[in-house]
C-alpha cells in the first residue's frame, strides 16, 4: 500500500511539541487525509498515541519496544526501516529536530534515498523549498528517483493548527529489535547550569550577533539595552566565543523569546536564530548587509554599521525618555 508516513517525536514527560503538528500539516499537503498515517515510537507510546489520535486524520501507528527509549539512532533506524518496508509509503515526513537530524539521513540511505532536510514550503509537483547560503537564498528541490521521498520540515514553516478534531485509529506495530544492534550507550540528558536569566519573560530584548566583531565592542549594545531597560541576548557565535554566557543565547540551541520588541544588532538571521525570536511582536534589524535574511522577518530595518547606528539609537532613546 502507498501513502504518507509522518514520524512524530515524543520527549520525556512532555506533551508533543508544536513542530510535530506542523509536520502533520506538511504531510496533509502531500496527499488526501486518508492516506496520512502518524507514527510514534518509544518504550511506552500510549499517552502520546492518544494525543495524536485526536488530531491525526486516519491512522496512528504506535511503534513500541523497550529498546526505543532512551533514543538511539540504531534502535530508531531498526524500527523505522521495518515499518517503511511494511508500509511502502510514497512520502516519509519528519519534524526537523535535532533527533531527526541524527537518524533520518541514515534511514533515507537505507532505501537509496536522500532526505530533503529542513523544508520550508511545498508547492505543486511537489516542489520543495529549502534555504541555502545561510538563508540568503531559497532552493527549489524535486525528488526524481523512484521509491519513497523523505523530507523533514523546518520549525515554524507550516501551521500547527489542524482542521478539526479527529479520532484516528491507533494500530500497533511491533518490530523485533535486538539489543546487539544498538551500538551506542546514551546517558541521561542534563542542563549545563541553572538558567539564571529567563529571557522568555523579557518585554524588551537587544540581541547581538557576529556584526559586533569583538568582545571589546559589547558595551555599545549593553548601553542600548540599559537605556531601553531591555535584556541583552545574543546569537550562537557570540556565546560560542564566550563573549556572553550561554544563558543569553536565543535560537534553536538556546532560549525562545517573544518580547514586545526585539532589536537584532549585527545578526544576519540564520534560521537557527530566527526560530528563537521570530515570534517577537516587533523586530528591528540593524545590519550592514541589505540582503541579510534578518530583514525578511523585521518590521523596521536600518542598513548601516552597528558601530554607528547603535550608539546613535542609544542617544536618541535616552533623549526620548527624558
Amino acid at each position: 500500500m502507498s501513502g504518507i508516513l509522518v514520524v512524530l517525536e515524543q520527549r520525556a514527560h512532555k506533551s508533543l511539541a508544536r513542530i510535530n503538528w506542523e509536520a502533520l500539516t506538511a504531510a496533509l499537503r502531500l496527499g488526501p487525509p486518508a492516506s496520512v498515517a502518524a507514527v510514534i515510537l518509544g518504550a511506552d507510546t500510549q499517552a502520546a498515541a492518544a494525543e495524536i489520535a485526536a488530531k491525526a486524520p486516519s491512522r496512528v501507528i504506535s511503534v513500541q519496544h523497550p529498546l526505543l527509549t532512551p533514543y538511539t539512532a540504531d534502535g530508531t533506524l531498526a524500527a523505522l526501516q521495518q515499518l517503511i518496508q511494511f508500509e511502502n509509503p510514497d512520502f516519509v515526513v519528519f519534524p526537523h529536530t535535532y533527533q531527526v537530524r541524527d537518524y533520518a539521513p541514515a534511514l533515507a540511505t537505507r532505501f537509496g534515498q536522500v532526505l530533503l532536510s529542513d523544508v520550508t514550503a511545498i508547492a505543486e509537483g511537489p516542489v520543495f523549498t529549502r534555504q541555502i547560503m545561510q538563508g540568503r537564498l531559497n532552493g527549489s528541490y524535486r525528488h526524481t528517483g523512484s521509491g519513497a521521498c523523505f523530507l523533514s520540515v523546518q520549525a515554524g514553516a507550516f501551521p500547527a493548527e489542524l482542521p478539526e478534531p479527529r479520532t484516528a485509529v491507533i494500530e500497533q506495530f511491533s518490530p523485533p529489535i535486538d539489543a546487539a544492534q544498538i551500538r551506542t550507550t546514551p546517558g541521561e540528558p542534563y542542563r549545563a547550569a541553572a538558567q539564571a536569566v529567563d529571557l522568555s519573560s523579557a518585554q524588551l530584548i537587544v540581541g547581538v550577533g557576529r556584526g559586533i566583531k569583538s568582545q571589546d565592542n559589547l558595551p555599545i549594545v549593553q548601553e542600548l539595552a540599559t537605556a531601553l531597560g531591555a535584556e541583552l541576548a545574543a546569537s550562537r557565535p557570540i556565546c560560542d566565543n564566550g563573549w556572553l554566557p550561554m544563558e543569553r543565547q536565543v535560537g534553536s540551541s538556546g532560549q525562545t523569546v517573544a518580547p514586545k520588541l526585539y532589536i537584532a544588532a549585527g545578526i544576519s538571521g540564520a534560521i537557527q536564530h530566527l526560530v528563537g525570536m521570530k515570534g517577537s511582536q516587533c523586530i528591528v534589524a540593524i545590519n550592514k548587509d541589505p540582503d541579510a535574511p534578518i530583514f525578511e522577518v523585521a518590521d523596521y530595518g536600518i542598513v548601516g554599521d552597528l558601530m554607528e547606528v547603535v550608539p546613535a539609537l542609544t542617544a536618541a532613546v535616552k533623549a526620548a525618555k527624558q
Binding site: Y98, R183, S253, C282, V284, V297
Partner: protein, 258 residues
C-alpha cells in the same frame, strides 16, 4: 588514534551571493571562500585529541571539491593536520548528499581510521547529513551535534547537544563517525611555522571517477531564488542619526515601548 576530518570549502559568509544566468547556482566569480566553520571546529577537536594522547596517531584531512579547494587543505595542514586527501570533483553543487557521501566513504574506507569527524552542516547548502550518511555507508556507529570528544578504553565518550540548552553524554565504540557542533572548542590560528611545514606535507589527489561510478541524483536542485519577504519591512533610510530618529518615533507611537 587515526582521525580523519572531512572539511569543505564554502563561500565566505561575507561574500555577496548573486544568482547566475542558469538560475540554478550562484555567480562563483563573486565569491571568496573559507573553510566551513563547523568543519574547522571538527579539525580543532581532532588536533586536540591527538595532542591529549601525547601526539601519537595521525590527523588526516579529507575534502571533496575542485582544485581550488586546495586552499582549505593547506590551511588545515598549517594548523597541524599531518596529511590530506583531496577528492577532485567540480560538480559538488549538483550532487546530492548521498552522492558526496559515497565519494567520502570510499576514500575513508581505504584508510580505516578510528574516528571520522565532520562539521554538522555546511554553510552553503546546509544539508546537514553528510557525516551521518558516510557512517551508514560504512556500517559505523555515529553521533551528531557533538561538542566534546574524550577517548575511553573501548572507544569515545562524547558530549551531545540537545535542544533548548540540554546536553547528553554518549559512549560509542570505535571506529565511529561524529559530526561536530560549533562552540565546543576554540579554533586555533595557523602559526608561521605551521604554514611553512604545511608545504612539505602530503596531499594525495584522487579523481572522483576512480572512487565510485556516478549514479543519478535522487533529489535535484531545480532553481534558486531570492526569498520572498513574509513581512513588509519598513526600511528607515538616511544617516544613522536620521534613521534612529525615525525608529524612535515608531517605537514610541506604533510599538508603544518608549
Amino acid at each position: 588514534m587515526k582521525i580523519i576530518v572531512a572539511i569543505k570549502q564554502v563561500p565566505d559568509r561575507e561574500s555577496q551571493v548573486r544568482i547566475d544566468d542558469s538560475g540554478k547556482w550562484i555567480v562563483e566569480s563573486d565569491l571568496q571562500y573559507a573553510m566551513n566553520e563547523p568543519d574547522a571546529h571538527a579539525l580543532e577537536e581532532a588536533l586536540q585529541l591527538k595532542e591529549k594522547s601525547g601526539g601519537g596517531g595521525e590527523v588526516v584531512v579529507l575534502t571533496a571539491g575542485p582544485e581550488s579547494a586546495g586552499t582549505v587543505i593547506r590551511e588545515a595542514l598549517a594548523k597541524g593536520a599531518d596529511r590530506a586527501i583531496h577528492v577532485l570533483c567540480d560538480d559538488l553543487a549538483t550532487r546530492d548528499a548521498l552522492s558526496v557521501a559515497r565519494l567520502l566513504a570510499a576514500a575513508v574506507k581505504e584508510e580505516s581510521p578510528d574516528l571520522l569527524l565532520a562539521g554538522l552542516q555546511s554553510e552553503d547548502l546546509g544539508y546537514g547529513q553528510t557525516g551521518v550518511i558516510v557512517a551508514e555507508l560504512l556500517g559505523l556507529p555515529h553521533a551528531t551535534l557533538i561538542l566534546n570528544v574524550e577517548k575511553t578504553d573501548t572507544g569515545v565518550r562524547v558530549k551531545r547537544e540537545l535542544e533548548e540548552g540540554w546536553f547528553q553524554s554518549i559512549e560509542l565504540p570505535t571506529p565511529a563517525v561524529l559530526t561536530i557542533q560549533s562552540g565546543g572548542n576554540k579554533i586555533r590560528y595557523a602559526t608561521l611555522m605551521g604554514i611553512k611545514r604545511a608545504k612539505t606535507k602530503e596531499v594525495r589527489q584522487i579523481a572522483s571517477s576512480s572512487l565510485v561510478s556516478d549514479s543519478a541524483a535522487v533529489v535535484v536542485l531545480d532553481k534558486i531564488s531570492l526569498p520572498t519577504k513574509k513581512k513588509s519591512t519598513q526600511m528607515l533610510a538616511g544617516t544613522p542619526k536620521e534613521a534612529v530618529a525615525a525608529l524612535v518615533e515608531k517605537l514610541r507611537l506604533e510599538v508603544h515601548v518608549l
